[in-house]
Subunit: 158 residues, 2 copies
């Protein structure tokens, strides 16, 4: 484990508490570290920016990728004040950092009114069993975009 890990986590928790007090959004903060330097910080900005995807981890990932000019966080570490929700866990997997550190759990978040645990349950269910109805449509045309992708010799995989 990074010997400075507690220092970086303290910063994520500090950001989270300050954000909760400020009214900018939920009580969450995250920092992204490369070579022992913080390259980006994020806080939850859902309600102040009308962006339901603006969780601390997503904000930090977007800023870190902008800072380094890449769509991957290879070799980076992510420190988040609370266990990532499924959206943020997915974002982390797409960004592919080397490690995730977290302090609180999704049960802690649920205890103060956030949907993290509910959404984890939903992701484990089949589409047709979920709370938001999911309907498959035009499946006979679904492969057209994938064919266009495979036909593009200049495609950039991610």
């Amino acid at each position: 484990m990074n010997p400075n890990a507690e220092r970086f986590m303290s910063r994520a928790l500090e950001l989270a508490a300050a954000n909760a007090a400020s009214g900018h959004g939920g009580p969450f903060g995250a920092v992204i570290v490369r070579d022992d330097d913080i390259i980006a910080e994020g806080v939850n900005l859902v309600t102040s920016t009308n962006d339901p995807t603006a969780h601390a981890e997503v904000v930090a990932i977007r800023r870190a990728c902008a800072a380094i000019g890449e769509f991957q966080l290879t070799g980076c570490e992510l420190y988040t004040s609370c266990e990532p929700c499924p959206m943020c866990l997915g974002a982390i997997y797409w960004a592919r950092p080397a490690a995730i550190y977290y302090a609180g759990t999704h049960k802690d978040a649920a205890a103060v009114g956030f949907d993290d645990s509910f959404i984890y349950q939903q992701t484990r269910m089949k589409p047709q069993e979920r709370a938001i109805p999911m309907v498959r449509l035009l499946e006979e045309l679904a492969n057209q975009p994938f064919r266009a992708w495979c036909d593009n010799q200049n495609r950039v995989p991610y």
Copy 2:
């Protein structure tokens, strides 16, 4: 089901195929509909904007919320060319639209090289079992941000 559903899905598939051919990003498109009008469209912009969170659904959700000035998509429908990955499914649950329509499946996406199925498997695992190491740290301080949240009488829940 919305009688115009196939028309909206055709548009999502059209966006997806055009995006794959354009080289702006992956072969995915999404539209968000309210009162039978498209209020936002999105395509995958991961590689062209260096943003691993810029999947079609996330882009469309962010644009739709910006268009209506709210952080919820109450009463809206989301049409996506392919079943949402866990990040996008989480984003959808946080935005809370009324329904999700999709054409392809996460297995179709996996067949052309995307990690959707792998990330679904990862979300179902315990933190300590996942491919990206997850380490809990400073758990004794994890509740400080949540206390600041509960103490803020002007907090805006979401």
